[in-house]
């Protein structure tokens, strides 16, 4: 069967209209994917704005509680406050400190944390951070068994010393496995705290 060769297919470069028509669904898809990837952070940013008046500890440390964090009746003493959200907790202590942040941190672990703990592991190295106010701070993590609490507790302590020897210790803790879910909140409150 000898058929004449078929005509060559007509090929042409897609015009601007054709390209735009092809690009529209791709752009819609990319926008939808961007919403999925980054939408959580944006939503969380909106939901986690500070609410209510600042909490002042010992007249020296001010913290803006994020939505959901309660301090109603949880004052430990005049120089300490406990903020809670579910099983997540943030203890804020205003302390005088003759030394630097690292010394304040070690002193807190020795004088406050260790006496309460039945078994305690503290991270061997400290992490240096800087608060939004510009103050330098140090941070460590710990895990341990504490009297009166079922199961292990994991926590993170941040210590900072302002001019004049005004110190603050932020001890965020929760049952093991749950700290992860409140740690961003704790960091946000610590990072925006005012000391001194």
């Amino acid at each position: 069967m000898d058929l004449p060769p078929p005509p060559a297919p007509v090929t042409s470069r897609p015009g601007a209209d054709g390209l735009a028509r092809k690009a529209v669904p791709v752009l819609v898809l990319l926008a939808a994917m961007a919403l999925v990837v980054f939408g959580g952070f944006a939503t969380e940013g909106v939901l986690s704005r500070p609410v209510g008046p600042p909490v002042t500890v010992g007249g020296l440390v001010r913290v803006l509680p994020l939505a959901g964090w309660q301090d109603g009746g949880s004052t430990l003493d005049t120089t300490s406050v406990l903020l809670s959200r579910g099983s997540g907790n943030l203890e804020i202590h205003a302390l005088a400190s003759p030394g630097d942040a690292t010394q304040l941190l070690r002193g807190y672990v020795t004088r406050f944390l260790e006496p309460q703990a039945r078994r305690l592991s503290v991270s061997s190295s400290t992490q240096a951070i800087r608060l939004e106010s510009g103050l330098a701070a140090v941070r460590i993590a710990y895990v341990g068994l504490f009297g009166g609490v079922q199961g292990q507790i994991e926590g993170e302590i941040t210590a900072v010393v302002a001019a004049g020897g005004v110190g603050a210790v932020f001890d965020g803790w929760a049952p093991v496995g749950l700290l992860h879910y409140v740690l961003d909140d704790i960091h946000a409150m610590v990072d925006t705290a005012e000391v001194g």
Binding site: M1, L3, P6, P7, P9, R13, P14, L19, K22, A23, P25, V26, L27, L29, L30, A32, M33, V36, V37, F38, G39, G40, F41, A42, T43, E44, L47, S48, A67, G68, R85, G86, S87, G88, A174, G177, L178, L179, Y181, V182, D184, D185
Partner: protein, 411 residues
């Protein structure tokens, strides 16, 4: 024709399968940009795993290669009539392994914060995986399948095609996620990796991302392939329904509902409980997907028969050949018989003839005139392949050529 002419030379096969590299398609550039950007992170993550535990990392990939190769082949060959271009199938695999896993890691973290904020830490610890990963991961994997459909609309003809792209994308995702779990959750030691492999692969079998994304791919393919014959609302309903089924299966899997998994492994009974727990959670969706795949294959069978019926009796397709084409086992048997009768070259040529006859069905199924040049070219190609085959010594059946080359006994 053919018999009284010099033996015809079989036409040259296509030079290469370059259907993925469509440089004029915006979808190609979107795909390439996202895979390149996420690839940097994915490679650095694997390098980190390798540094942490070289043996565990190598063992993880070895075990997962042993698992994923047969799964890949099973999925690929599930599409009985028209195998998808390998370049596109690999593009789906790479998207699942690199882009979807990396983007999902970022997205899950963000939406996990929202769950923790809205529900508190206790609720978040139980429900974050169920309320974030299913829709986040299915959407991001679907993004890759949609890009492939946009890139090569002409390759996605039916729901089975979507199943192949989706399942392979899910396979890529599952493999990289498993490496992460073996190293990050099960400890990364060889014994930890083996435990992880038992829990996440041996016990779970095919259940997981392969099924979820396969199901969703069917929905995407239904939406794309039936745009001429089905109204928009029906296509949206079917695609959304399958997407929801995939997300629901994933959600049930990640949720604390029906969770029979042992909290701690303390003895052989706990190891045996794991597959039982998987069956309870996974069986409903496995059954649903199995039914969907069987229905899709039947639909494809009917489609092929309808598309080729008008070609039967022509010099490029006989009724016997159509019967063989419709039965995958008979197709394989016909090639085996041909190899015995006329040698491997003839068997390969017969395989090519069968593929081109299926391609003829695809061309014929697309709206075009009967004398469309592409259709005519395809008919000519089939006829020339057939002539070439018949000219090969031993290829012609003993009973003469009345019905064309009856290339196999019908079952």
């Amino acid at each position: 024709m053919g018999a009284d002419r010099a033996p015809a030379q079989p036409p040259e096969p296509p030079v290469s399968d370059a259907r993925f590299l469509r440089l004029r398609e915006p979808a190609f550039w979107a795909y390439a940009a996202i895979v390149a950007a996420t690839g940097v992170y994915a490679v650095s993550e694997q390098a980190l795993f390798r540094r942490i535990s070289p043996t565990g990392w190598a063992l993880s990939w070895l075990l997962l290669a042993v698992y994923s190769l047969p799964v890949f082949l099973a999925v690929y060959f599930l599409d009985l009539y028209e195998r998808e271009p390998l370049s596109l199938v690999f593009a789906a695999l790479v998207w699942g392994a690199i882009a979807a896993t990396t983007l999902a890691g970022v997205a899950n973290e963000g939406w996990g914060l929202v769950v923790a904020r809205a529900g508190g830490p206790e609720f978040a610890s139980r429900w974050t995986a169920a309320l974030t990963a299913p829709w986040v991961e299915e959407t991001l994997k679907a993004g890759g399948v949609v890009l492939i459909v946009l890139l090569a609309r002409d390759e996605v003809d039916d729901v089975m095609d979507g199943f192949v792209y989706g399942a392979v994308c899910g396979l890529g995702f599952a493999v990289v996620e498993d490496v992460f779990y073996f190293l990050g959750v099960f400890g990364g030691t060889p014994s930890g990796v083996l435990a992880g492999f038992y829990v996440r692969v041996v016990s779970s079998g095919l259940y997981g991302h392969v099924l979820f994304t396969g199901l969703m791919g069917m929905g995407i393919a239904y939406f794309a392939a039936h745009r001429k014959e089905e109204p928009l609302h029906r296509r949206v309903t079917v695609a959304s329904g399958l997407f929801l089924a995939a997300v629901s299966g994933h959600l049930l899997w990640n949720s604390p509902i029906l969770d029979l998994f042992p909290r701690k492994i303390q003895g052989p009974g706990d190891w045996l409980l794991i597959p039982a727990a998987v069956v309870v959670k996974g069986l409903p969706l496995v059954g649903f997907v199995a039914v969907a795949v069987v229905l899709a294959r039947r639909r494809e069978h009917r489609w092929l028969e309808a598309a080729l019926r008008s070609e039967v009796g022509s010099p490029w397709l006989s009724s016997v050949e159509l019967g063989v084409l419709l039965d995958p086992l008979a197709r394989r048997r016909s090639r085996r018989d041909m190899r015995v009768r006329a040698g491997p070259r003839a068997a390969r040529l017969l395989g090519r003839l069968q593929r081109e006859q299926v391609n003829l069905a695809m061309l014929g199924a697309r709206p075009r005139s009967e004398d469309d040049p592409a259709l005519e070219r395809q008919r000519e190609l089939c006829q020339s392949l057939r002539d070439a085959l018949m000219a090969m010594p031993g290829a012609a059946p003993a009973g003469g050529r009345g019905a064309g080359p009856p290339l196999a006994r019908l079952p």
